[in-house]
C-alpha cells in the first residue's frame, strides 16, 4: 500500500517534472520565432518561393544591399504551393515577415486586408515612373503603392521545329497568327493516337490566361470601374466558343482543361506539338529537348482585334507588421533598380518590368534568342487587363473561371450559358 502510494506520488512528481520540461520546450519554441519568418529589429526577413537560379540571384542582390546598409536579409524559402498559406498564417498570428514575394493577382487581397506596408511615401520620389504602366497598375490599390514590380512573365507559343516544318512561323508581333490561321495550322498538324496539336497553360491559378483570348477579341472580364462582370458579351462568347472548339475538335488533350494537367511536360514528351508556355519554363524545357536531340522554337501569341498577353511574374511587398519599414522600402527600391533587376532577369530567365531594360539586350542564361520574343510579347500586356486581374477578389474570381471553363471545355455547355453563370459568380465574388 505504502509503495503504491509512493509510486503514485512518484508518478505525479514525474508528471509535474514533465510539465516543467514542457514549459522549457515552450521557451524553445519562443526562441524559434527567430527562424526567419517573423519581423525582428536589425534584419529583414524575406519569405519567398524560388528555384535555384532565382534564389542565387536574390542572395547576390541582398548581399550587395547588406554591404551598404549593414542590415542582413534572412531568406525563408518555401514551396510555391505553401508560400501564401504560410504567409497568411504568420500574418494572422502577428508574426508576418518584413517582405514576401507575391503574384500580381494576389496583391489586391493583401492590400485590401491592410496586411501590406503602404510604400507610397517611403519609396524614392518618381520611383514607379521607371516601370511599365501595366506593372505600376498591378502594384497599386486605390492610388496607393503596395509593392515593387520585381519581374514579369508572359506566354509565347513554343513549337516542335520538326512538327511545324511546313507552317508559316510569324517573326514579329505585327504578323502574328490570326485566330483562324492558328487554328488552321493546328488542325493541319499530323497527329497519332494520344498525340495532339497543342496545349494551353490555363490550368488552376493560370486560368486567368484564358482572358488573353477575350482581350484579343476586344472584350473584358470586368466593367471599366471594376465593380461588376462584363464577360457575358459577344466578345466573351466568341472567345469561349473558339477555345471550346480546341477540345471538341480534339486539338488539345482532354486532360489539359482548367483543372487538368500542366502542359509543359506534354510538350517535352512529344504528346503535343505546340505549347503555350511562360518564359520561366525555358530552363526546364530546354534541357529536355537538348537531351532528346530535338529542336524547338517560339512565336507570338495569336492575335485578333489586337495582340494581348497575360500578366505573369511577381512583385515583392513589405508587410504592415514589419518593424523595419524604412529598411524594407529601401531594400525593395534597391532590389528593383535597373542594375539589380537586370541581374535577376538574366540569371532567372524572366522578363524585366523596368522600361529602361526593355530595349536592352540582356545576357539570358537560357535561349536568349527566344527571350527577345518574350520581351516583345510582354509589351502587349495592357494596363486595362492588368487592372482587371489584380482586384482584391481576383482569387475567388479565378476559382470561378476554373470551374466555368471546365464546364464549357469538358461538358461542352453552351458558351452563352456558361458565361451567364460566370457573370453571376463574379457578381457574388465581388460583392
Amino acid at each position: 500500500m505504502i509503495s503504491s502510494r509512493l509510486s503514485r506520488r512518484g508518478f505525479l512528481g514525474a508528471t509535474a517534472a514533465g510539465a516543467l520540461a514542457l514549459t522549457g520546450c515552450g521557451t524553445g519554441f519562443a526562441l524559434q520565432s527567430g527562424d526567419g519568418t517573423g519581423s525582428t529589429e536589425g534584419r529583414l526577413s524575406f519569405t519567398l518561393w524560388a528555384g535555384e537560379a532565382e534564389l542565387a540571384a536574390f542572395r547576390t542582390v541582398a548581399e550587395r544591399w547588406t554591404a551598404t546598409s549593414g542590415v542582413p536579409v534572412v531568406f525563408n524559402v518555401v514551396p510555391f504551393s505553401e508560400a501564401l498559406t504560410g504567409v497568411d498564417a504568420n500574418l494572422a498570428s502577428n508574426r508576418g515577415p518584413d517582405l514576401f514575394r507575391v503574384t500580381y493577382q494576389d496583391i489586391g487581397i493583401y492590400a485590401a486586408g491592410g496586411a501590406l506596408l503602404d510604400l507610397t511615401d517611403l519609396l524614392p520620389g518618381g520611383f514607379l515612373q521607371g516601370f511599365g504602366d501595366a506593372f505600376v497598375s498591378a502594384v497599386q490599390s486605390e492610388g496607393r503603392v503596395y509593392g515593387v514590380p520585381h519581374h514579369t512573365d508572359t506566354s509565347l507559343v513554343l513549337y516542335d521545329t520538326e512538327a511545324l516544318a511546313g507552317a508559316r512561323i510569324p517573326t514579329s508581333l505585327d504578323d502574328a497568327w490570326t485566330w483562324e490561321e492558328f487554328r488552321s495550322v493546328a488542325a493541319g498538324l499530323p497527329t497519332a493516337e494520344a498525340q495532339f496539336a497543342f496545349g494551353v497553360n490555363w490550368q488552376l491559378a493560370g486560368a486567368y490566361r484564358w482572358l488573353n483570348w477575350v482581350d484579343q477579341r476586344g472584350g473584358r472580364l470586368l466593367t471599366d470601374d471594376l465593380t461588376g462582370p462584363a464577360i457575358d458579351s459577344a466578345e466573351g462568347r466568341d472567345a469561349l466558343a473558339f477555345t471550346q472548339a480546341f477540345f471538341t475538335d480534339g486539338l488539345v488533350p482532354p486532360t489539359t482543361s482548367t483543372k487538368g494537367s500542366y502542359v509543359d511536360e506534354l510538350f517535352t514528351t512529344g504528346t503535343i506539338a505546340m505549347v503555350f508556355a511562360g518564359d520561366f519554363l525555358l530552363p526546364t524545357i530546354d534541357p529536355a529537348f537538348v537531351s532528346a536531340g530535338r529542336e524547338y522554337g517560339a512565336t507570338f501569341l495569336p492575335a485578333d482585334e489586337r495582340a494581348s498577353a497575360d500578366l505573369g511574374g511577381n512583385a515583392v511587398v513589405a508587410t504592415a507588421q514589419s518593424v523595419n519599414p524604412e529598411a524594407a522600402a529601401d531594400f525593395l527600391a534597391f532590389l528593383s533598380d535597373d542594375e539589380q533587376q537586370a541581374l535577376f532577369c538574366e540569371q532567372a530567365t524572366v522578363l524585366p518590368t523596368r522600361t529602361a531594360l526593355l530595349g536592352q539586350q540582356l545576357d539570358y542564361a537560357v535561349r536568349p534568342d527566344l527571350m527577345e520574343l518574350f520581351v516583345e510579347q510582354a509589351t502587349t500586356i495592357t494596363p486595362e487587363l492588368s487592372a482587371q486581374v489584380t482586384v482584391p477578389q481576383f482569387n475567388a474570381v479565378n476559382s470561378s473561371i476554373v470551374d466555368r471553363l471546365e464546364q464549357a471545355f469538358l461538358s461542352g455547355d453552351d458558351p452563352g450559358r456558361v458565361l451567364a453563370d460566370l457573370a453571376e459568380d463574379i457578381t457574388g465574388r465581388l460583392a
Partner: protein
C-alpha cells in the same frame, strides 16, 4: 473490570475507514493527473480549433485583416450551393465504393494470412505498407499509373491495340482511379484488424461446426462472419469517417476534376479557404462535415451498445 480491560486491549479493533471525502479527493486527484496530459493535448489541438472553426463559420474572412460578422449567411449559402451538394454526393459515393470492396478483399487476405503459410510475415507487411505510406506519395505514384496520356495502364492498353481509359477527362474514369488507389491503401489496415478478429474466434466453435458437417463455406458464412460482426461494424464506421476526411489522394490525383466529378467535402473546403480565400465559408463546410461524421459516430456507438446488450 480488571479482567475485562486486557480483553478490551487485545480485542481486534476494526480500523476506521479513511473519510470517504478524503479518499475520493485523492482518487480524483490521481485521475485528473493521469487525464490532464491528454485533455491538454485534446483541448489545445482539437477542441479549441473546433470551437474556433464554429466561430469563424459566422464570419466573412480572408484569413487576415478585418472580419465581418455575417450571422448564418454562410450556412444559408451552403445549403443552396450545388457544388457543396455535389461534393457531399461524391464523398458518399466514394465511401460506398471503397469501404465494402476493401472490407471484402481485406477479409479474404486475412483469411489467407490466418493459416500457416511460408513467408506469412513478409506478405502481411507487404499488404500493410500502402496504409502507412503518405497519401501524397501514393497519389503521385497513382498519377504515373493512371495518367491518361503517358500513364502505365494506358500505355499497356494501347500497346495491346486497345483504347486508353479517360482517367482524367471523364467523370467515371477519374472516380475509378481514386477508388482503385484508395482500396489499395485501405486493404492492409482492414486485413490487420480482421486478422485480430479471426484470432479471437475460439477454435472450438469451428470444430463443433465441422463435426456437425459444415463445409468450409458454411463455417465462414454461419460462424466466422457473424462472430466478426463487431469488427465489421468498427471497420465500416472507421472507413466511412476516413472517406469523409479524404483529401491528399484527391488533391494530387484529380484535383477534384473533371468539372466537380471528384470534388470531395474536404477538397472543396480547401479550395474555398485557400484558393478563393473565403475562410469563413470553408469553416462552414468543415462544421457541416464534422456534423456528418458526428452523426455517423453516434450511430456506431448506438449500434455497438445494442449489440453488447444482446450479448
Amino acid at each position: 473490570m480488571t479482567t475485562a480491560a486486557p480483553a478490551a486491549v487485545t480485542a481486534p479493533v476494526p480500523r476506521p475507514d479513511p473519510p470517504r471525502r478524503r479518499r475520493v479527493s485523492r482518487d480524483s486527484l490521481a485521475a485528473w493527473g493521469l487525464l490532464s496530459p491528454n485533455l491538454l493535448v485534446f483541448g489545445v489541438f482539437l477542441f479549441l480549433p473546433l470551437l474556433a472553426t464554429v466561430w469563424l463559420s459566422f464570419y466573412s474572412s480572408s484569413g487576415f485583416g478585418p472580419r465581418e460578422f455575417v450571422g448564418a449567411d454562410n450556412y444559408t449559402e451552403l445549403f443552396g450551393d450545388s457544388t457543396f451538394w455535389r461534393a457531399t454526393a461524391n464523398t458518399g459515393l466514394y465511401a460506398l465504393l471503397t469501404v465494402p470492396v476493401s472490407l471484402v478483399i481485406g477479409l479474404g487476405i486475412a483469411l489467407a494470412m490466418n493459416k500457416p503459410l511460408r513467408g506469412r510475415g513478409v506478405l502481411r507487411a507487404i499488404y500493410y505498407v500502402p496504409y502507412v505510406i503518405s497519401g501524397v506519395v501514393i497519389a503521385v505514384a497513382g498519377r504515373w499509373i493512371f495518367n491518361e496520356n503517358v500513364g502505365v495502364i494506358n500505355r499497356l492498353l494501347r500497346s495491346a491495340g486497345l483504347d486508353g481509359v479517360p482517367w482524367q477527362s471523364d467523370a467515371v474514369g477519374a472516380m475509378g482511379s481514386l477508388v482503385l488507389i484508395s482500396i489499395w491503401t485501405k486493404i492492409g489496415f482492414v486485413m490487420v484488424v480482421y486478422l485480430a478478429g479471426l484470432q479471437s474466434i475460439p477454435k472450438e466453435y469451428l470444430e463443433a461446426a465441422q463435426t456437425d458437417g459444415a463445409g468450409r463455406w458454411q463455417r465462414l458464412r454461419y460462424v466466422v462472419v457473424p462472430l466478426l460482426k463487431p469488427t465489421t461494424i468498427f471497420l465500416v464506421v472507421l472507413g466511412v469517417i476516413e472517406s469523409f476526411q479524404v483529401f491528399d489522394i484527391v488533391y494530387v490525383l484529380t484535383g477534384g476534376g473533371p468539372g466537380n466529378a471528384t470534388e470531395m467535402l474536404v477538397t472543396y473546403a480547401y479550395a474555398e479557404g485557400f484558393d478563393a480565400r473565403r475562410q469563413g465559408y470553408a469553416a462552414t463546410i468543415g462544421v457541416v462535415t464534422y456534423l456528418f461524421i458526428a452523426v455517423l459516430t453516434a450511430l456506431w456507438y448506438r449500434r455497438q451498445r445494442a449489440q453488447e446488450a444482446d450479448l
